[in-house]
Amino acid sequence: MGARHLSLNWASSLSSKIAGLVPGRKGKPPPPAGRSYVEFLIESSIRVLGFSTIGFVLLIFFFLLREGLPIFREVAPANLFGTRWYPTFDLFGTLPLIIGSAYVTVASIAIALPLGVATAVFIREVAPHWTREVLKPLIEVLAGIPSVVLGFFGMHVLAPLVRTTMDVPTGLTAFTGAVLLAYMALPTIISVAEDAIDTVPRSYRDAALAMGATHWQTIWRVVVPAARSGIATAVMLGMGRAIGETMAVMMVTGNAARMPISLNSLFMPVRTMTATVAAEMGEVANGSVHYHSLFGIGIILFILTFLINIVAATAIFKKRHRGGLR
């Protein structure tokens, strides 16, 4: 979701650039008949494409609502937000799934945030020029690794490692998922945080250095705080990516729908909302209560990611509003 949010922004800025390239009709001598016909064709097809994209998104949204909303009528709220998810026994408690998703996501951000910010600081403030030139594209490549490949790596390398080092019965735990998700959120966090650090004015650094602050003090007390809203945006986008991730999580978290509330549940299996939908969607009868409940989970997930993206977007908007990332 986070990546989609970014690419949407990118796409809209691109389309406005393209629109700028297409010569407008205003204030220009009327072009020859043939050319204006071609132009009309191009313009209207661009318009149709643009509106149809919006249309498809709306249709998907309405489909999600149509299939998911009935669950909130069919099942009593006490059951729906209960602690037990056993659809075959008509128990549709989504709480373990919601908490499971939140648990894995928060844990992954707890790992990815310090690593990501430290990497961004290193690339922007410490690394020599050539290292920066090598690291930046490498990090972008990281973002392109398919999640199933990461999941495979997680199952066969990370999980056994967790099992043996932590001495737990299975390596398929919330922690394993969190590590993988952190890995997946890192490229987003690094590149957005790096941009934020890059826009901190030189004059702040000069002021700190001129007062006798060391390089490290300047970074830690001036540059990073000045970039904090950008870093917060980075975290929100990384979180959006983590919470919506399915495949890698399903492969390594063990998928036991239990309440992860005790302290040691970090090293126990957990089940997320996404993994539940993916795992059970193929087996439900179309139109059944179970089927509706899976779409209901989809709605909850949609609302959560939507909220996260809104928070991230308002942070970006605020920065633009105040003139530059601060």
């Binding site: 000069d206 003090q217 000045a226």
Partner: protein
């Protein structure tokens, strides 16, 4: 009393020679103004005095810059220690996007200065004649102040670390006339305790505030003398032409 002594300073940006053979003596507790047209090297020279040019790629310095007899370009010089002694106020006010209090407290905090932080903040703000205007809003964002107030905040921030020299790089160029006047009055009171070197393109300002004036032309120090003499009986023809507006 001599604070800085510069001997045969050359400064290179890559292949370009930006300053050539500058020799000058800067007095303690006096205001020294550096004037000259844009690009003549006066800001570059100023930044040589606290080694702020170190961060520029391809910059090279030759010659000696003595602060109280110690060459600041000698091997093993602690640049952090140097900048603690030689503070700097920049052309555009550059407070940190933090509260007024945190801005002033920044220096004492990073340098681990002894003493009561609140007291240091109050003294510094009083020293910069800003205390009465901000004493009720120390927790507010410093960027909410007017540009003139921000620049005085930057001066307060500089004196909070108790330097010996304050370098000012066109400190009034972004300010309106009233704010400029306030800064100039402030400089007069600061010179009781600090040596001040100010770069300015405003010749009235140089003649109003300074005790000594150096005139830079194309990377060379053409003339350096007591301000009154530079402005009334300059030794060089080019200085006279510049001051009267015929050159530059």
């Amino acid at each position: 009393m001599e604070k800085f002594r510069v001997e045969h300073l050359n400064f290179h940006y890559g292949d370009k020679l930006a300053l050539s053979d500058i020799s000058i003596s800067i007095s303690d507790r006096r205001i020294t103004a550096l004037i000259g047209p844009s690009g003549c090297g006066k800001s570059t020279f100023l930044r040589c005095l606290n080694r702020m040019n170190d961060t520029i790629r391809g910059a090279r310095v030759e010659g000696r810059v003595l602060l109280d007899g110690q060459d600041i370009y000698a091997r093993g010089t602690d640049v952090v220690e140097l900048r603690k002694r030689v503070g700097m106020v920049f052309q555009r006010p550059n407070p940190f996007p933090q509260s007024i209090f945190d801005n002033i407290a920044f220096g004492p905090r990073v340098l681990g200065l002894e003493g009561d932080l609140h007291q240091i903040v109050e003294e510094s703000l009083r020293g910069a004649v800003l205390w009465d205007e901000v004493k009720d809003k120390l927790k507010q964002d410093a960027l909410g102040l007017s540009l003139g107030q921000q620049q005085r905040l930057c001066i307060a921030r500089t004196i909070a670390v108790k330097p010996e020299v304050i370098l000012m790089d066109e400190p009034c160029s972004a300010l309106d006339p009233i704010a400029t006047l306030q800064i100039e009055e402030l400089m007069q009171s600061l010179k009781e305790e600090y040596s001040i070197v100010i770069v300015t393109h405003n010749m009235q300002q140089a003649s109003r505030v300074s005790d000594f004036t150096g005139f830079f032309w194309l990377g060379e120090m053409v003339e350096f003398d007591v301000t009154e003499r530079v402005f009334t009986r300059p030794a060089q023809r080019i200085t006279e032409d510049y001051i009267t507006g015929r050159a530059g």
